[in-house]
């Protein structure tokens, strides 16, 4: 008898869990971040000691093309460049934005997505900035 009651309780608890998990919306999955907002920005951002926005944007475009990206969109006012890269079955999309920082510097921020996953790995972004440095013959600084 006791066993039956216990089984009944377990069944009810299981039902509750299923019902509760059924109610959860998946929309919030699109807004989840693994890294903190500040850390993510420092991973994705570098500063260059130059003021020519167009030149830096052209360097970004050229670097993205070197990395096999096909450019989908660009806007000089926003300073944004968007491109995608196809490897095997995976599609990588990346947006890079260039904007002024003070009077003498420009800030570059890149964010990439691999399939349905946002890329938050520091090394991957470092690879991109190393390639960008090479095309500009300039050193990228971490944001203080």
């Amino acid at each position: 008898m006791k066993n039956v009651r216990m089984l009944g309780n377990v069944f009810i608890v299981l039902c509750l869990i299923f019902v509760a998990s059924g109610c959860a919306t998946t929309a919030n999955k699109a807004f989840e971040m693994n890294e903190s907002q500040v850390k993510l920005r420092s991973i994705q951002t570098r500063v260059f000691d130059m003021t020519d926005k167009k030149k830096l944007m052209q360097a970004v475009i050229s670097t993205m093309q070197d990395l096999d990206f096909v450019l989908d969109d660009a806007d000089i006012l926003l300073g944004s460049v968007t491109g995608s890269k196809y490897i095997g079955y995976a599609v990588i999309t990346m947006t890079v934005t260039v904007r002024p920082r003070g009077e003498t510097q420009l800030l570059v921020r890149a964010n990439a997505q691999h399939g349905i996953v946002s890329v938050e790995d520091p090394g991957t972004y470092q690879d991109f900035f190393v390639a960008l440095e090479k095309s500009l013959f300039l050193t990228a600084h971490q944001v203080d």
Binding site: D68, V70, A90, V119
Partner: protein, 186 residues
């Protein structure tokens, strides 16, 4: 009692394995420059002896239209034109091979549906950048192509960067011709 503990341990290990498998990381190194990127760059770039970027951009748009591409986006200030085209991707050799495989499988008493895995349609994306050369005496044009291929089941069977030199060569031949034609108002 002991077997209970053992089965609990087993359950725990399986659970651990499953939860670790869920954490599969995204591949790294996809933003690293390849050693052969300069070789590909050479395929994709041509220089023209003119400072008139607008004229080159018009010619590029013309060539894309000649090839049946749709212009999706452009930013003249940066010299960007991005375009795409849907095309047939059926390949007689591939289909013949798949049909043979299916027939053979049928004859041997088993089932095969290789034909449905054959390529059917493709979408080619082209983006072109027109910018002044470093000495600002000439105009540089760089084009990059990619494609997505769908099979008979309308599933994506392939996504890739197009690296065949002939395709780039044909594009630039047509562009040279277009620049000539437009210079002469033809």
């Amino acid at each position: 009692m002991k077997s209970n503990i053992n089965s609990f341990k087993l359950f725990f290990i399986v659970f651990l394995c499953l939860s670790l498998a869920g954490c599969a990381a995204t591949p790294k190194g996809f933003l690293k420059l390849h050693d052969d990127h300069l070789k590909h760059k050479q395929l994709q770039i041509r220089q023209y002896d003119t400072k008139d970027e607008k004229q080159i951009m018009t010619a590029v748009a013309g060539v894309l239209q000649d090839l049946g591409f749709t212009l999706n986006k452009s930013e003249t200030e940066l010299g960007l034109i991005s375009s795409s085209k849907q095309a047939d991707a059926k390949h007689a050799g591939q289909i013949t091979g798949a049909v043979m495989l299916d027939v053979l499988a049928g004859l041997c008493g088993s089932y095969s549906n290789a034909t449905s895995q054959c390529d059917k349609t493709q979408m080619v994306k082209a983006s072109i950048i027109v910018r002044p050369s470093h000495d600002e005496e000439r105009t540089v044009v760089r084009v990059t192509f990619q494609r997505i291929v769908w099979n008979m089941n309308n599933q994506v069977s392939k996504v890739e960067t197009i690296k065949e030199p002939e395709i780039y060569q044909t594009f630039f031949d047509k562009l040279s011709k277009a620049i000539f034609l437009e210079a002469h108002q033809i």
